[in-house]
């Protein structure tokens, strides 16, 4: 979520994205008695929808969203399973995301009862993000585990604004989201080395901007569903799936007196392709 003060211009942006527990343990093979280790790499062909809060006094009070061009994120992961327990961690990195340029009408005036001047403010936005998570899990059956974890999402959003009659500006906002998650992972064999897998994680994250200040609450959910394949004779497995992450931040200060509190959404979604090396 980002808050924009146009012209005076202070830009605060909070955007969110997330990742769930890794699934490497689903494709793992014995390293020793009751011990398995898997190292994985996943490519995520994803788009990112982000949002920012407008500056109500000049733009009207609303939540503006923007949707990135497709991008490819890489997600390395490692997991270790010992008997019915496992620990796994993953990292997400991606090249810079580019968002289509968009514009908004702003009205600059000295007060609501005086004459104002309307401008068209153009936004050109790019953004980076990284994510990491660590989870511990317990297998309640051989193919279903419950997980507890910790998720961290960092973002760096660069917004260049310009317009006729306006001063061009560049603002950089660096929000960080962090907090606990809970979830499950499951899989079922499909025969011939194939399996269906899925995971779901829910969490409550705290968001802060670089430099400190107010902490905001955000709801997190992430899930992936797909099919894996492992050739018995090779220490490799492959996956293809679909993954989404969502972080929603409530914005009570954007309420206009209605019965529902506004939310700033952040959605990242797309197909994944993964490979796991098993020791």
């Amino acid at each position: 979520m980002r808050k924009t003060w146009c012209f005076s211009l202070v830009l605060m942006l909070a955007l969110l994205t997330a990742a769930g527990p890794s699934m490497a343990e689903e494709q793992s093979a014995p390293l020793g008695k009751d011990v398995t280790l898997a190292i994985g790499m996943k490519l995520w062909f994803n788009t990112w929808q982000s949002a920012n809060g407008s500056f109500g006094a000049q733009q009207g009070t609303n939540v503006q969203s923007y949707f990135s061009d497709p991008n490819i994120a890489f997600i390395p992961s490692i997991s270790l399973k010992i008997k019915d327990f496992f620990i796994s961690t993953s990292y997400l990195g991606a090249p810079e995301y580019t968002f289509p340029e968009y514009s908004d009408t702003i009205v600059i005036g000295s007060g609501p009862t005086t004459t104002g001047t309307a401008y068209t403010l153009n936004h050109k936005t790019t953004a980076k993000r990284t994510e990491s998570d660590t989870n511990i899990g317990w297998y309640v059956t051989p193919n279903l585990a419950f997980t507890l974890g910790y998720k961290v999402v960092t973002q760096e959003i660069t917004d260049k604004t310009s317009g006729t009659g306006l001063t061009s500006t560049t603002s950089i906002s660096k929000p960080t989201y962090a907090g606990p998650t809970i979830g499950f992972i499951g899989s079922v064999p499909l025969g011939e080395g194939f399996g269906l897998f899925g995971n779901l994680a829910l969490g409550k994250l705290d968001m802060t901007y670089e430099g400190g200040g107010t902490t905001y609450n955000a709801d997190y959910v992430s899930s992936e569903l797909g099919v894996g394949f492992k050739e018995k004779s090779l220490p490799l497995s492959f996956t293809v799936g679909y993954r989404f992450t969502s972080i929603e931040q409530k914005l009570p200060s954007y309420a206009m007196g209605g019965p529902v509190t506004p939310i700033s959404p952040d959605v990242t979604k797309g197909f994944t392709f993964g490979i796991n090396l098993i020791f």
């Binding site: 609303n62 005086t114 529902v260």
Partner: protein, 276 residues
Amino acid sequence: MRKAYITILLLVLVTGFAAAAFAADTEETTKVGKDIYFTLGYKTWINTWQTALNSYPPEGGANIMSLTSDSVAAPIFSSSLKIGKFLIAGSFMKTPDYTFPDSQDALVAGPTPTTVPPPGLVFYKFKTSASRKENDINLGYYITPAMAITVGIKNVKQTYNDLNADRSIFSTSWTKYSGPIVGITGGGRLGESDFSFYGNLSYGFLKGEFEGDPQTFNATYSSTELGIAYRPISFLSFLVGYKYQTIDSKLTDPAYNNQVALDVTKGFILGANLTF
């Protein structure tokens, strides 16, 4: 996605919503004949709806405002028939009204920069509620006993209400989406227990249309659901899962510079399947 005319201003509301396909058919069916299985299902989807309201260029700029509703419980009825390795399944959903947050946008007629008279700040306030109907029908083929690939048709109709200050309905309009989808559905038992894991994924390319507008637009659809089912007795099973749907609407007006309006519906789902 919705189009509406407000005095001289055209305001476009873009939303998307996608519906569920079928349940964990593999685990929930009972044999009614040789290689024939039939299932009736009911689900309650406790979901929120993130939709979008397009600004009207040039008065409002060219941007997309996001609105996220409070939760509603949407009923989903489904049935499926499996004959040999083939499957036909359908579902139907009709929701109560979703309520969205009130919002406002600055709208100024004419080219900018321009001087606007008092009060200077020209804001239009939006009060919105909406409901939707969805249905889909799918044909499937089981490539293994636990997983089928599917091809189907998805239809979504969204009805939007502009509300007065007292929240009575001022005007109504609809947006429709329709098109082909492909997907997978699968599931299997968790060990030797009565529990099973299930999941399904659908992906499609829809055409959208506004009420009263002959021009259509393209939209990409995706839907996933995964969860756990429990079958305590042979003719009845229960499930709990999480369902997530999106429709990405590509805005055709060049002023939007290829922006995409995202529509997300997501939440926990509870269901029961009765078998014959």
